[in-house]
């Protein structure tokens, strides 16, 4: 069946307009929908049967029972709604996430109504729901895994909250969206033959970078290099202007440069850089990150790491106003 786009849009707008958004969301009945479940239809059928029986036998007690059942059914509509009202969903601080890894979003469910809420299902769709009770005081937590396929800013898809409590005859559901800044970092990929590409050395010699510890060799002086490193002896012997090259082994300052991986796709380069940043950070090294438009460091520590990862995640994206 084809639905004209204009209708689809307006339906979407209508749904959208009723959908609460934010990093802490409370549902109200305006944004909730309700419909009978299969068990509800079964009950409806039985009520109709009872009604026919009562009419036929002119049995007023059967009428009373049937009407009581209808009453309970109608009251259940209100109760089912009520059970889902006044729950506050707050997204908890998000762990860092990389492309290709599951993004676990934890949220806390607290009761605003001072009442308990039972069997609240929450998830991305009907088939993958988590069900929990929300206590009257304190909170419940639910963790939902999302798939992050792209680096950069991540927009959480809408979530469905649903409940069939108390009797399973009616299902009420509502949608909402958490609007919270989430950054997805590039997928970390170990760069192949990093050192051959770099300087034609085997990788088992260790990570080499410009440092100031162990003497490694000489290379031609390039303007701007520290004068202290000039091999004055060689210069005195008129062999040319050489710079004593030192190797910084682990624990030393490193520089991760976009230029180190020529001929690779941008995303792959970012992945390599991410890997290197993570490696370096996990070993508390000092490092510098260089890629087009960005030069961070040298630096170390959590803040530096976060800055680097953010830059990598946002490469090529306009910086979102925060």
């Amino acid at each position: 069946m084809k639905i004209p786009k204009s209708i689809k849009n307006s339906v979407g707008r209508w749904f959208g307009s009723r959908m609460p958004v934010g990093d802490s969301v409370t549902l109200n009945q305006r944004s909730s929908y309700i419909w009978p479940t299969r068990a509800g239809y079964l009950l409806l059928g039985i009520v109709i049967l009872m009604m026919i029986g009562a009419t036929n036998y002119q049995n007023n007690l059967a009428f009373l029972l049937t009407f009581l059942l209808i009453g309970i059914g109608l009251v259940t509509i209100v109760y089912t709604f009520k059970n889902m009202q006044g729950i506050q969903f707050s997204v908890l601080p998000v762990n860092e996430a990389f492309v290709g890894q599951p993004l676990a979003i934890s949220m806390s469910l607290t009761s605003n109504s001072g009442k308990e809420h039972y069997s609240i299902g929450i998830g991305q769709n009907n088939n993958e729901l988590l069900v929990c009770d929300v206590p009257d005081t304190g909170n419940a937590t639910a963790t939902i895994n999302f798939e992050a396929s792209r680096r950069g800013h991540f927009e959480l898809p809408r979530l469905m909250v649903t409940s069939e409590f108390p009797f399973g005859w009616l299902k009420t559901w509502a949608y909402f969206r958490f609007v919270t800044p989430i950054l997805i970092y590039p997928k970390p990929i170990e760069p192949p033959q990093l050192y051959e590409q770099d300087h034609g050395k085997d990788s088992d010699e260790g990570v080499k970078s410009e440092g100031n510890e162990d003497f490694y060799g000489l290379k031609s002086y390039q303007p701007g290099e520290s004068l202290s490193r000039i091999d004055w002896k060689a210069y005195a012997r008129e062999k040319g202007m050489f710079v004593r090259e030192f190797v910084a082994y682990k624990g030393q300052q490193l520089c991760f440069n976009w230029q180190d991986f020529p001929g690779n796709d941008d995303e792959v380069r970012l992945s390599y850089l991410t890997f290197m940043v993570l490696q370096a950070a996990s070993q508390n090294l000092t490092y510098t990150l260089i890629f087009p438009g960005t030069h961070i460091g040298p630096g170390d520590g959590e803040e530096h790491r976060a800055q680097c990862l953010e830059a990598l995640a946002l490469y090529g994206e306009k910086v979102a106003p925060s």
Binding site: T55, N56, L61, L65, G71, K82, N112, V131, P166
Partner: protein
């Protein structure tokens, strides 16, 4: 902290068997009184098996076992009832199937089916009895079913599943309490059809009491049933109990053994005959009689709707009374009937079989000669009954041939049918038109209310003798029996008969025994139950609405009213629930009251964003400026008190993780002191 489980887990986990079994057995319990005991045992056995296999995981109910049990149930029912149709066999069958369904309840869907069908099963009980107790009982299975449904829906870590019985009842009663008004509205407004859609055979209960023929010689023991035949309510004062002769039908034809009805024609009483007569208005609620005749107080002047007044002043309905029926009648006890009798009628009402009962026939004809008039003759017969050894007994000897002879001359003991039959026979033998009237005599006034209960035990037969100019005159020969010749146990056991004889007791309201009081009270409950619940039909529905000023209401209007009222009700409760922004607790309310009090005194400016800290700041500024003006201690302490209360509130609100009842109490006290 609660954490979540996945929905699949919720759906595939084990069913809460215990609540489901409880709900099922609660549904079946009333039926257990009406179905064969072995089906009860089978159902309980099946329920036991399921509970057992839940407790012992190693034991599982085998498929063959299920099959054997089910087959046994079906075969058993077929053997016992020889059919599946009809009320008893049908209910036995569905009870067995419903009971055994628990063996097949493994998934959520099975359980839903079992529980929903439970509501339908409850109706089956109404086929057997419609007493108030079964209606009240319904709440128990309903709560049990709802509880089972809730248990299935709960994830179990909340407080729902492990609740005490009291909590379950309290929380689920909320639903019932709110559903009750809806039920009442639907019950009142839902349009009723005039008749059944189809009729099922069966469901027959023997109605005793009055039948449309009378064979006194056959009866060796008359059972007096306490069952209610009808109830009567007088608009105005009731006649004397002695005069309560409830006429049902007349028997004019006699074949020597059995008295039967004679064909008669409809009759319309001319208005003129009613002038100057005392009229009695009353309504009667008649239980099912399975006869075409209504009961009226002797003598009805007009037939109720849908019935016809016949020439013998009985009221005939074109259909048998199969249900409890209520009608309004007016009677004129002193109304003379048929002052003129045609020759054919005269010969009809003096007709007796040529042969048989010759002794009585001759005796009657001889006796008649001794008296001037018919009335004197009849009186002499009554005197004979009174003076001679005539006994009233409920265990008369069986009289096969010449019934009247053997009663009148040999045994001289019998009950009303014997006496009435004999008197009519004697009168006819003497050439006086006479007939037997049967119906009820007397009744028992419910002292707690204003209606009379007439029971089967009040069934009575008397006579009508036709006199020139007077018409048919009621003569009750049974009443002529001397009271000392009424068997003593009758007087004590069957007080219903007391009023027939001279010395009867009047029930004194003040001396009413507890048991009697309870009996009357129960009867009144029953009566109201019948009136308002069981008898509410399309006719009463119309009547009710016309009483409210809506005469000629259509079914569509009824439905519209019904829907409007129910939606208003639902709208009201949902509005109250859904729009009350976070129901505030006691402390928050007290704080708000305190805050608005301060605002009223003009001390602070409060709007919706004012927090408690801001309030403190405002108060501090005030305190400062007040102190600048007059550095008095009382000024200071006044503000200090307010500030302290707010600080305590902040502490209670934001720095407490556990509810602290002592702090709460103190806080409320502090706010109140302001």
């Amino acid at each position: 902290m609660n954490s979540a489980i996945s929905k699949r887990q919720l759906q595939t986990r084990e069913l809460p068997i215990i609540p489901i079994v409880i709900a099922q057995q609660c549904v079946l319990l009333p039926l257990y009184f009406f179905i064969p005991l072995w089906i009860v045992a089978l159902n309980l056995f099946a329920a036991g098996l399921v509970v057992w296999s839940m407790k012992n995981k190693s034991f599982e109910v085998d498929r063959w076992l299920k099959l054997v049990i089910t087959a046994a149930a079906i075969v058993g029912i077929l053997v016992v009832f020889r059919k599946f149709s009809g009320r008893d066999a049908g209910v036995a069958l569905i009870s067995a199937m419903y009971g055994l369904k628990i063996l097949e309840t493994k998934k959520l869907r099975d359980a839903n089916l079992l529980l929903s069908l439970g509501f339908f099963m409850l109706v089956a009980g109404f086929l057997f009895t419609q007493k108030p107790w079964i209606a009240l009982y319904q709440f128990i299975p309903i709560i049990a079913i709802l509880n089972a449904l809730v248990s299935m829906q709960s994830i179990g870590r909340g407080k729902v599943v492990k609740r005490s019985l009291g909590q379950v009842i309290r929380s689920l009663s909320q639903y019932l309490l709110l559903a009750l008004p809806i039920m009442i509205v639907l019950f009142l407004f839902f349009p009723r059809l005039g008749g059944p859609i189809w009729r099922m055979p069966g469901a027959s209960t023997a109605a005793s009491g009055v039948s449309d023929s009378m064979t006194p010689g056959d009866v060796s023991s008359l059972q007096l049933f306490d069952k209610v035949a009808f109830r009567a309510k007088f608009n105005g004062s009731a006649p004397n109990e002695k005069d309560l002769y409830w006429r049902m039908l007349t028997l004019g034809e006699y074949d020597g053994i059995t008295w039967t009805r004679a064909g008669t024609t409809p009759y319309k009483l001319p208005e003129s005959e009613l002038t100057g007569k005392e009229l009695i208005d009353y309504s009667i609620t008649l239980e099912a009689t399975r006869l075409n005749y209504l009961v009226t107080l002797d003598r009805p002047i007009k037939a109720p709707q849908r019935s016809t007044l016949l020439k013998d002043f009985t009221t005939y309905t074109p259909f048998r009374i199969m249900d409890r029926t209520r009608y309004q009648v007016t009677s004129a006890p002193t109304l003379p009937i048929e002052t003129q009798l045609s020759d054919t009628q005269r010969s009809f009402y003096t007709n007796i079989p040529q042969d048989g009962n010759l002794k009585t026939k001759n005796w009657a004809q001889e006796q008649r000669q001794k008296y001037q008039s018919d009335a004197e003759f009849i009186h002499s017969v009554l005197v004979q009954i009174n003076q001679q050894e005539y006994f009233y007994t409920l265990q008369p000897p069986i009289m096969r041939e010449d019934v009247v002879d053997s009663f009148w001359f040999d045994y001289q003991r019998g009950f009303c049918e014997h006496y009435a039959g004999a008197l009519v026979f004697i009168a006819r033998a003497a050439g006086i038109p006479a007939r037997v009237v049967i119906g009820y005599q007397g009744g028992e006034k419910n002292p707690l209310s204003d209606y009379w209960i007439v029971r089967y035990a009040n069934a009575h037969a008397w006579t009508e003798i036709w006199y020139e100019d007077l018409g048919w005159v009621r003569i009750d020969p049974t009443a002529a029996i001397a009271s000392h010749r009424v068997e003593q146990d009758l007087l004590t056991d069957y007080r219903q008969r007391e009023s027939l004889f001279d010395n009867f007791d009047i029930v004194d309201l003040e001396d009413l025994g507890l048991f009697k009081q309870f009996e009357y009270w129960m009867d009144q409950v029953n009566n109201n139950w019948n009136d308002w619940i069981l008898d509410y039909n399309s006719q009463r529905q119309r009547q009710l609405f016309s009483n409210w000023g809506f005469s000629k209401i259509t079914n569509e209007q009824l439905i519209a009213f019904m829907l409007i009222i129910v939606s208003l009700f639902l709208g009201f409760i949902s509005f109250r629930w859904l729009h009350q922004k976070d129901r505030k607790d006691q402390v928050a309310r007290a704080y708000e009251k305190f805050q608005s009090k301060l605002a009223k005194e003009g001390l602070v400016n409060v709007d919706s964003t004012t927090g408690p800290m801001q309030l403190i700041n405002q108060l501090k500024e005030l305190e400062y400026s007040a102190l600048v003006r007059s550095p008095h201690k009382s000024v200071r302490s006044k503000y200090e008190q307010h500030i302290k209360a707010i600080e305590a509130y902040i502490h209670y609100r934001y720095q407490n993780d556990k509810p602290d009842f002592k702090a709460k109490k103190n806080l409320l006290l502090q706010f109140r002191q302001v």
